[in-house]
Amino acid sequence: MKKFLLCVTLLLLLHNVQAKEQRIVTLSSAITETVYGLGLGDAVVATDVTSVSPKAAAALPRVSKNRALSAEGIMAYRPTLVLAPEGDIPAAVLKHLRESHIEVVVLKQEFSERGAYQFIQQIADAVGVPAMGKSVVNRTKVTMREISAIIAKETAGKKKPKVLFIYARGTGTMSVAGKGSSLDAVIEMAGGKNAIQEFADFKPYTTESLVKANPDVILLFDFGVSSLGGKEAILKMPGVKLTTAGKEKRIISMNASLLVNFSTRLPESILALHQELTAVTKNQ
């Protein structure tokens, strides 16, 4: 046993040595927070525009704006490893980086609890700390279990509030989250029920579909709320008054990257959404 422990310690040390030589560029907030969560924050040299958590990451230089990436912009930071979410990195940029002998790991994310654990482990493997990955996954699992238990206890016997998520970038472009979307998963986990059961993924928002769905709560990202002109403006949108959410003024605004990252902060995000839901539906 002693020998085993010694080996593990040595391995961990080795990994730490290796980690110090790494220069990592992370291209999504979920990846960034996971790398920080794995204790490799110091190796991150630049991130994308969405990475605002943790605070240390927010201070790093940005290689993208509105997700437009350039190969040179990334290479300027002399990375040894680039971690990118699937589909976000243009083929030419990928080709340029790989031809320049920079390792690029493209990560596919599944929006579920299990997907979050896989995601953490994948990143841990990519940055060379698989053992650390395992322990972070276990820690997250334990926290998640505790939070799920709390939520289950609090919502037992109660009617789950119907939550409609609206993704907004100004009044012109609004869509709602259907079944199987990332939002659908967090709403269910936080003890709510997605108001949309008819279709999958995101579909354009219409006043009639809003009235038909008649949600108890309307959920938006914080930038979505500001893009529509604040909570008061949302209450004045056509049809909102006709819904329970509108009558009771139940509008929740949450940080986008916290809510749908499905990584190390998943328990935190589920708890936060649950608390918001409980707060607005308290006097039901």
Partner: protein
């Protein structure tokens, strides 16, 4: 060409060489010009020892060099096509973009992106990246053909009809592209933006190799249409009386311009204003002799785009500005200034 025109062409060519070499050192990844020189010479075996910085070498040879070459090719294609089309229609407003070629090309590219998974899977497996290029080509060709056919009256294309048809096609293509944008996923949306605003960020040696034959052949041939276009300037009847088959010249110039513009849209998206402003500027500084206008537009187009690309890469580095935005911001004031001065 007069000696003044020859001088202008020489100055433009020297400026192009200078800007192209200078821009090799510029970008988000800083490389001193001396190192650039060293690395290039080392490639040719002039210097024995390469510099120790491998990454800088990769940036230079993998990312930047194909990009600058692509910028020069696309700029040259847009510049000379604009000049050729304006010559044919004896109208300074007729630009490849205005008669619908660019929007047709980008519409087809967007269609390929939107329906790739559904309709083009088999083709996509065979052609890969080239599917988009061929899509854009087909779009350019089909729109040019339609506009040309609509504008034809007794065998001769009417300028006004051609412009109106172009505007209609632009509107239609714009609406369809808008519809695609509405239905597209986030991922597709990002590719569509590329086609609408233009970018040289996708430049690789592969696509330089794909488009250079099309652009080199079409622009190379266009240069020799100066004399015919000069005859056109007198009017088509007169041109015919001078023993020229004006219909055939028209068809050639439109075809070559479509080929050049289609190829450039296929790799760089829509880059506006170059085709319109460059020939004008050339004419204002050096006169309207088409032998001069075509050649000078070719070089100046390349120059303007190389310059615009350096700005797009450096102004907000490490992020890039869309090049179409730069050409419009840079070109319009210069153009207006020249217009006012020459009035």
């Amino acid at each position: 060409m007069s000696s003044k025109q020859q001088l202008i062409v020489t100055i433009l060519a020297l400026a192009l060489i200078f800007v192209a070499l200078f821009s090799l050192g510029q970008g988000a990844f800083y490389i001193p010009l001396a190192d650039v020189w060293h690395m290039i010479m080392a490639k040719f075996g002039v210097y024995e020892s390469p510099l120790p910085d491998n990454l800088a070498e990769d940036v230079l040879f993998v990312v930047r060099m194909p990009r600058i070459l692509l910028g020069m090719l696309v700029g040259a294609a847009l510049g000379i096509s604009g000049a050729g089309i304006q010559g044919i229609f004896r109208n300074p407003l007729a630009e490849p973009g205005l008669i619908g070629i660019s929007s047709g090309a980008s519409l087809f590219a967007v269609l390929v992106i939107a329906f790739e998974a559904v309709l083009f899977r088999g083709l996509s497996e065979i052609l890969g990246y080239y599917l988009l290029v061929f899509g854009a080509f087909a779009g350019a060709g089909i729109t040019a053909f339609i506009v040309y056919q609509i504008a034809k009256k007794e065998g001769r294309p009417q300028v006004t009809t051609m412009l109106l048809a172009g505007i209609a096609i632009n509107g239609f293509a714009g609406a369809l592209t808008g519809l695609m944008t509405y239905m597209a996923t986030e991922q597709q949306l990002r590719s569509i933006t590329f086609w609408m605003l233009g970018s040289l960020g996708g430049a690789t040696w592969d696509n330089v190799a794909v488009v250079s034959p099309f652009i080199l052949v079409s622009t190379g041939l266009l240069v020799f249409f100066g004399k015919s276009l000069n005859a056109f300037a007198l009017g088509e009847m007169q041109a015919d009386l001078l023993g020229m088959r004006s219909d055939r010249v028209k068809l050639w110039v439109v075809t070559l311009a479509t080929l050049a513009v289609g190829a450039s849209v296929a790799v760089a998206g829509i880059i506006g204003f170059v085709g319109l402003l460059v020939p004008h500027t050339v004419r204002l500084i050096g006169g309207a002799d088409n032998r001069f206008v075509l050649l000078a537009s070719l070089i100046m187009g390349a120059l303007v785009l190389t310059l615009a690309d350096v700005l797009s890469r450096t102004l907000v580095a490490p992020i890039e500005l869309p090049i179409g935005v730069i050409t419009a911001l840079l070109g319009t004031p210069v153009f207006l200034y020249i217009l006012i001065k020459e009035k």
